[in-house]
Amino acid sequence: MLNAFRRSFSRNLSSQAKKKTEVTLTDDLIGQAIEAEPSLSKISKDFWERCHETFQNHGIATESFLRIVTGNPPVLTRHPKQIVHVLENWRSCQFGEYSFHLLITKYPEFLDVTDGSYLIQRVTYLKELACTNKNVWKLLMNSPGLIKENSAAIEDRYQYLTSVMRLDVPEIVKSEVFSKSLEVLKTRHMFLDRLGLFKPRSIRADPDEPTKNHRLYQIVDSSDKSFATKIARVTLFEWETFQDLYRKELREAEEEMDGDDDDESDEE
């Protein structure tokens, strides 16, 4: 019952959006898309029109449609039913209509996730970490790899962020941290920590009290040069050397751990 209501509501919404955003798919626009993605030239106009109509029926504007097909050309040849199925799956994640459009326009490869139950399962898992649907959407907008990534790898970074760096969810979801490896995260964090520029918030500290630490997005989303010179305020040479040194440290720690594990198993 609820799902039926949701579907009819979304259809109404998309028809309204259709009225607002309807733009005819001209040869000129198709030409521009082919220029951006030459592989689209092999596809006949019928497919273009059929696919365009399908997306338009779901409230997705022509401009967004063109972005989607240039980003993920196989979508154009897919049967409308298949497309609708995937769109409905994503809609059921309840990110909100506008946010959902933004998400698939930014990452057209998300339309390749055809397994609805996997999608729901993954979004539910992410919701456990990020607390709200809105935060899950932010996570996916910043780190699209989360949709496919191994949950153990996600868990490692999440644990590091919350237990070692003591960051809270709103700060985590604003950054692209899950697009980076744990090693990159650790290296940047330890660099600031050893410089004396990052102090984990005390457990007893008032959560509303602002910290002097740099924000997570500044730490992980910046280029090497701006991280070194603007965030850490040291030279790029020092940062590059630290990366080498810390890589060695991590490797040694890993070897030590492996050694300890071997000793334990020998004892057993």
């Binding site: 410089l195 457990i203 040291v234 040479f237 020092e238 050397t241 080498d244 810390y246 060695k248 440290e249």
Partner: protein
């Protein structure tokens, strides 16, 4: 039943969330870091964070080729691994300096450290005063009312001690208390003894010494030392900055008598032995265990050490460097004094000088260091030279101690000295080490830890007895 299960499920989570990480633990290493943040932050300003990260990261080594082993073979394998001979780096820098035509000239330097230290002393005094009398002067009357209850009383002495007379300027139970600010007061720079400065113009690497390093920014590790055909190890790895005090003690002439006053673990002595010219090298240290370490190193690296060297050309002596009495008998003395060992103190908890129980020892280090220096100056022949060195960044233990030591040598024994200004010589090493600006140092030079050249810290000052 349900309730119990709920509690059981919840408890581990609560424990987990409250689990603190390493940063929260009040280890001696963390305590040392806090102290350094406080003091060196004021001394070095914004540059402290660069030094801090270098101190907390893995440090870099220099390899001393052992002349008693298969020298050519070791050299070839190090060069194959990409290591560079320090001799080549120095001659390159020499050429560069000659081209620039800057020469090794005199530079008028303005000295800046005095104001910084006096600021630190004032700040520390205020902090200590506040820790004893937390209220400000305006609330003095109110404070007096409950003064009695806040005065520190050693419970072990019992309440009977309270009836003893204590002057108003003292606090019962704190007779042995040394305020941290007293430690900084060891740093004095007003001259009340004759002291001259002379520019050291030239430096040449001793012929027989081969040292290898990797260029700045290269973090490659050296291969481990291997046994050579003579039974000794191929090369000795030491902190790169530690090569400077023995090298700058030169030039070494044949038949000289050399003393390494605080010798353990023996790396610097071994480097001087590679030169083979000294008639006698005395390696002194205070404890038997430390002497054992020196003997072990010598046996591992010097061919036939026990038969041909020990007790003949190399003497291991166990004595407090303050009590050595062969006055006026050495041509060269190396005084690498016990210090706060800044890098070591940030990495190892055991026997750390920043341990609560060693606070007095730490605060009185400069006094002990200056006594060692003053005594070692007396051991020099007139015209003989001495290098004082520490592996600390503290201006108190460095320039402060040189000042105190030379003052003491003059006041107690009428010995005058000349400080050799090494600011020109260190320019030959600038492509290997990062040095502190000479303007911030009064007597010596300081190698600053810097990630791409992560050596030191190492302070050294060359003194010649007049």
């Amino acid at each position: 039943m349900l309730r119990i299960r709920k509690i059981l499920l919840v408890t581990p989570k609560r424990w987990k969330s409250r689990k603190s990480n390493d940063n929260d633990k009040k280890t001696t290493k963390n305590h040392a870091l806090e102290k350094m943040d406080d003091f060196y932050g004021s001394v070095f300003g914004n540059r402290w964070k660069s030094i801090r990260i270098a101190l907390l990261s893995e440090h870099k080594y220099v390899s001393v080729i052992n002349n008693f082993g298969d020298r050519e073979k070791t050299t070839a394998s190090l060069e194959n691994a990409g290591a560079i001979n320090i001799k080549d780096l120095i001659s390159l820098e020499k050429e560069k300096l000659q081209k620039e035509n800057t020469g090794l000239g005199n530079e008028k330097t303005t000295y800046k450290m005095d104001n910084v230290i006096s600021g630190i002393i004032k700040e520390q005094e205020t902090r200590e005063l506040k820790s004893i009398y937390p209220e400000s002067e305006s609330s003095e009357n109110e404070a007096r009312d409950d003064l009695e209850s806040r005065r520190i009383v050693n419970v072990e002495e019992g309440t009977g001690g309270l009836y003893e007379f204590v002057p108003a300027t003292k606090i019962k139970g704190m007779e042995d208390w040394i305020p941290e600010s007293d430690h900084y007061k060891y740093y004095k720079t007003t001259h009340d003894f004759p002291l001259s400065f002379e520019l050291e113009k030239d430096f040449s690497m001793p012929e027989n010494i081969s040292l290898y390093t990797f260029e700045m920014g290269n973090t490659t590790d050296f291969m481990s030392p291997k046994k050579c055909s003579t039974g000794v190890l191929s090369h000795y790895l030491m902190d790169g900055a530690s090569i400077l005090p023995p090298l700058l003690l030169g030039p070494f002439d044949k038949g000289e008598k050399i003393l390494d006053a605080c010798s353990a673990p023996g790396g610097k002595s071994l480097l001087m032995l590679q030169n083979i010219t000294p008639e006698l090298l005395v390696c002194n240290d205070i404890q038997e265990s430390r002497l054992k370490r020196i003997r072990k190193v010598m046996k591992e690296y010097v061919f036939d050490f026990e038969e041909k060297w020990e007790g003949k050309r190399c003497i291991l002596s166990k004595s407090d460097a303050r009590n050595l009495q062969d006055y006026g008998s050495y041509d060269k003395v190396l005084v690498d004094v016990p210090c706060t060992t800044d890098r070591h103190s940030l990495h190892v908890d055991d026997n750390n000088i920043f341990k609560g129980g060693r606070i007095k020892e730490r605060l009185r280090l400069p006094e002990m260091q200056s006594e060692i220096l003053a005594n070692c100056v007396r051991l020099l022949k007139p015209g003989g030279s001495l290098v004082y060195s520490t592996c600390s960044l503290s201006p108190v233990q460095n320039d402060g101690v040189v000042h105190m030591g030379l003052q003491k040598a003059f006041q107690d024994h009428n010995i005058t000295c000349t400080i050799k200004d090494l600011s020109s010589v260190i320019r030959l090493f600038t492509n290997i080490f990062k040095f502190e600006n000479s303007q911030n140092l009064k007597y010596g030079q300081l190698v600053l830890p810097y990630l791409p050249a992560n050596f030191g810290p190492m302070y050294f000052c060359k003194i010649v007895r007049n």
